[in-house]
Symmetry: C2
Subunit: 596 residues, 2 copies
């Protein structure tokens, strides 16, 4: 049976000591969480995840969701009460503007509390996570009436949200979408078609479900330029907000999946379902991307969350399991054997996870703060800079955090030996659940293409130039000798990133296959640099705090060791990635498709 402890202290350290949280005080919503309030909110969120969500995690995996013949879906036992607790605690609308009933608090808090919830019970956290994504899209693109009607209900959890994109013939390539929207005389539309892989598509947690669905208005252009976004509720919504009759859409089946059994992944059949247009016709992709971008950061945090809980359980096991003796002499001479944490290779596995978790959380929070600045700042220059950084780093986090999140769950499982393969231990569920994060919200290969093909060249490379400048400036202003073990390796890695960026500029424009061939290695190189930067920032803050508050020395020392481990053993991968991507596309493109 797994356990979970939300990393509240760590989060507060990262926000306050590393990321300068107090300097954001002028942004709307930030003053409300100054001082001790921040820690209090996080502790409350932590308790909810530890005591309410996590105890249902293994049970939900085992029980799964059940569809009755009438198309209704029952979630695992306990999920309804837990959903009530999350909703009543105000967590769903934590960062939604107060005018719609939300708490208006910084998005960075939502990102953190969602990480906690994803650690504790990812399949469950997805139910309200999708509501948050749907609310983000409605906030930006919905009409006033749509916002007034839906958002307050979604904030309380009375209604929930989904996103309906995929169809059997249409996954990554949304241009192939065929779900049809037929205009009705009253201005509404009737949707007909089938959507698949719809997370939380049908369930018993809320009284209504607001489906945001992509469809093609009859006569619209082919391809992605003819796609519109619609709001199709499970129960029709009367003008006063009360519920009308059942809409003509239903769950046809629940998918059998490798993991996240507690979440109902539905085939949704639209049979002339009544829907309202959201935003402008044929601009649906644009509106959906608002939701997707927020969702991608959410998925990145799922990767981190699973890495965190897997780590905690593996570290506990390594401290308890007695097996073998230390190579440097017994450490537990009174016992029959030493705890396996004495073995270097066990420490290696644990530290590979720990140093990632620490740096990834710092990076994730810095990007969440970018999102806050981009959406809340009154300074247009600050908004643009933050939006650039957010856009650049979103695919990096989505891809890298989910890949490492999965790999770290696998590594944690390895620490358990044979026990790790047994269901009751709990860690194999983390592996199965983590696996989907690499696939959904844009498979990781798509993230790499987004980075290389869209985000790098956008606005003449403004975002990447600014980011490289940020890195150089950090290196230039941190030349103190005690920082050298962190800053020097970072400098080498930044050099690799510059070379790789240059390689792309010189080789990808003339031959686009070179961009595709290099994309995944470039993203990895980029992510390693970003995490190296985060690790160096953590080291700097830890050294300062240790000097300032000697009672924190032991905790700060642990952070320094983890950061050093990252620099020594993880960051050198940038050279390997550069070597790989520099070989270009020729070899891989030269093999005939039939000869694969």
């Amino acid at each position: 049976m797994s356990t979970y402890k939300a990393p509240v202290e760590e989060a507060v350290f990262l926000l306050e000591d590393v990321l300068g949280f107090s300097s954001y005080g002028q942004l709307p919503g930030f003053a409300e969480v100054s001082g001790d309030v921040l820690a209090q909110i996080l502790e409350e969120a932590g308790r909810l995840s530890e005591k309410v969500l996590h105890p249902l995690n293994a049970l939900g995996d085992l029980a799964g969701c059940r569809r009755a013949e009438d198309g209704s879906v029952a979630t695992p036992k306990g999920f309804i009460d837990a959903y009530r607790a999350v909703a009543d605690g105000g967590w769903i609308g934590l960062s939604v503007p107060t005018e719609f009933g939300g708490q208006g608090l910084p998005y960075v808090l939502t990102a953190l509390t969602n990480e906690f919830a994803s650690s504790a019970n990812m399949a469950f956290a997805m139910y309200f996570g999708l509501s948050q994504g749907a609310m983000a899209a409605l906030l930006r693109h919905g009409s006033d009436a749509q916002k007034q009607l839906s958002l307050p209900k979604m904030v309380t959890g009375a209604w929930s949200g989904t996103m309906n994109l995929t169809e059997p013939q249409c996954g990554t390539d949304l241009g192939l979408l065929t779900t049809k929207a037929t205009p009705n005389p009253d201005g509404s539309f009737s949707l007909t078609g089938q959507k698949i892989y719809i997370s939380a598509g049908e369930h018993d947690l809320s009284e209504n479900i607001v489906h945001l669905a992509l469809a093609r208005i009859e006569g619209a252009p082919a391809g992605v330029k003819g796609i519109s976004l619609f709001l199709a509720p499970k129960f029709l919504i009367n003008p006063d907000g009360s519920l009308g009759p059942r809409n003509k859409l239903s769950c046809g089946s629940i998918e059998h999946k490798m993991g996240i059994h507690g979440n109902a992944t539905c085939v949704m059949n639209y049979e002339g379902a009544r829907a309202e247009l959201v935003g402008e016709p044929n601009r649906g992709l644009n509106a959906m991307f608002v939701m997707m971008n927020e969702a991608r950061l959410g998925v990145a945090n799922q990767g981190l969350g699973l890495s965190e809980i897997a780590y905690q359980n593996a570290a506990d096991y390594a401290r308890e399991r007695l097996q073998g003796r230390s190579l440097s002499g017994p450490k537990n001479p009174a016992g029959k054997a030493d705890p396996i944490i004495v073995h270097p290779d066990v420490r290696r596995m644990l530290l590979e996870i720990k140093c990632f978790n620490q740096a990834a959380r710092a990076l994730s929070l810095s990007v969440a703060l970018d999102s806050d600045v981009a959406h809340r700042s009154h300074d247009p220059a600050a908004r643009q800079a933050a939006e650039d950084r957010l856009g650049l780093l979103t695919p990096v986090l989505k891809c890298f955090f989910t890949e490492r999140g999965f790999e770290n769950a696998v590594k944690a499982q390895q620490v358990f030996g044979g026990m790790g393969y047994i269901v009751e231990t709990g860690v194999e569920q983390f592996v199965r659940d983590a696996r989907i994060t690499m696939i959904y919200e844009g498979a990781n290969g798509i993230q790499a293409l987004d980075l290389v093909g869209r985000k790098l060249p956008k606005d003449g490379g403004r975002a990447i130039s600014a980011y490289l400048k940020e890195l150089q400036s950090f290196i230039g202003s941190n030349e103190a000798p005690e920082l050298a073990p962190f800053v020097k390796p970072l400098q080498t890695a930044v050099g690799d990133l510059q070379k790789a960026t240059l390689w792309l500029m010189q080789n990808a424009l003339t031959k686009p296959d070179n961009a595709g061939a290099a994309s995944m290695d470039y993203l990895h190189l980029f992510a390693l640099v970003a995490l190296g930067h985060a690790s160096a920032r953590i080291a700097k803050a830890a050294l300062e705090k240790k000097a300032r508050e000697p009672q924190t020395a032991r905790a700060m020392e642990a952070k320094l060791i983890a950061a050093k481990f990252f620099m020594e053993r993880m960051l050198p991968e940038t050279g390997f990635r550069l070597a790989r991507l520099s070989t270009g596309a020729d070899t891989m493109m030269s093999l005939e498709a039939e000869m694969f």
Copy 2:
């Protein structure tokens, strides 16, 4: 639903053109498979795996094994007939000496046919794979009577075998073993204790099960020097070979596992079970290692086998799934989209698997041939050289093939996008099944320690010296310019291996933690070099064959491309591994256990 095609042509190419199979003709058993016979046998094995074993793979995963209240275990539907087909085909005893009813054919054929079976249905293949391991141990350490009674029955499949090592408190550290062996007046022993994770511990496929179990004779020394090996049959064996009453051992429960549901992983309770000593008292570990070593190569081939079937299905899907357009212009202009195999990043994923499979199979077969030479040659020098190479490479293959096998199954799953997460597609089962190969038969960390701590220093480093010489000699004698793209990168990688070996010699003797801290990176570096060598050998043979037999040009070109891809994109990892391991143990050992 997954499909499988045994790579017979590829195997014949590797054996005949790359590994010089015909030059082994003087070894016992090899003359029988000269000429077309080799391909015929492999085709027959392929058909069995394709038509009989693979159709049961998903069914077995879904149904699992069921234990009845009396402790009997039913395997999934169809397994009994399939087991009969394997046994009647003579596959279980393919390489067992003819005097015990086997076919006496080279072990390399058993290795290959087991790879096919593991691809097709790993959970099923384990049932007879364990019999083969048990037979190997009895052949080497059993008494004449034990061999005469048991081997012929095991060859026909009438009886099967298991290995019983693990206990709840004792996994890697066999010194903690507590199962007790009490001597009986007639020279037999009574075993009392509990064994866990016993694959094929109880089932309905054979009329008797021969358990090889480790236990401690009363009064024996503590630790690993007091462990003996016993033969404890499910049904007692009368002197004439007929079956007597049920022995006092039984399956207490079946584990709930992440995968290999078709194999019964049992808790075995010994309650005064009658058993015979195998080999000498207190030398059980020694005897068990014979079984373990053969089993480790078998597990390596499971990793390769799952990588192969996952690859085949992903490549098929990539050729069929239409989504998006090629970056260099439409390749399927008549269709709504191009097949995803046009995208460089999809090709990257597929080629990363393909170039591994090709090189790993060559390496696996070369090691299997070492095993044949070690056990069959009349030349003591050749035997010793082969035994050295086999010992050195066994942990490398076990660890690296299973890790990459798992990663490749994950990569293949990624090619499927959302479909890959759905049970019915079949590929997620490969991932779950592959996961255990990294854990059982000695967790991969133990393999790395075995390599660095035992195999390298053994006999004054004779094995590693000879291996480095073999690599240098290959490089020195292949300086033709058309081989340069393969041999030059290999030379760099061999240089990294030499540096890493030197680093270990200089740093690990004085400080054993450095050995542990470096072990996993060293093993990876070693494996990459060995696969680089194999890739270069393949390239050389392919170039020669292409020149000699122009009609093979297309097939040979595909092998050359895969080998080149390995050199360009996989092999440069050696530099990264060297950089990592050279950082030593200091950082990882400096973190207090409580601060993890």
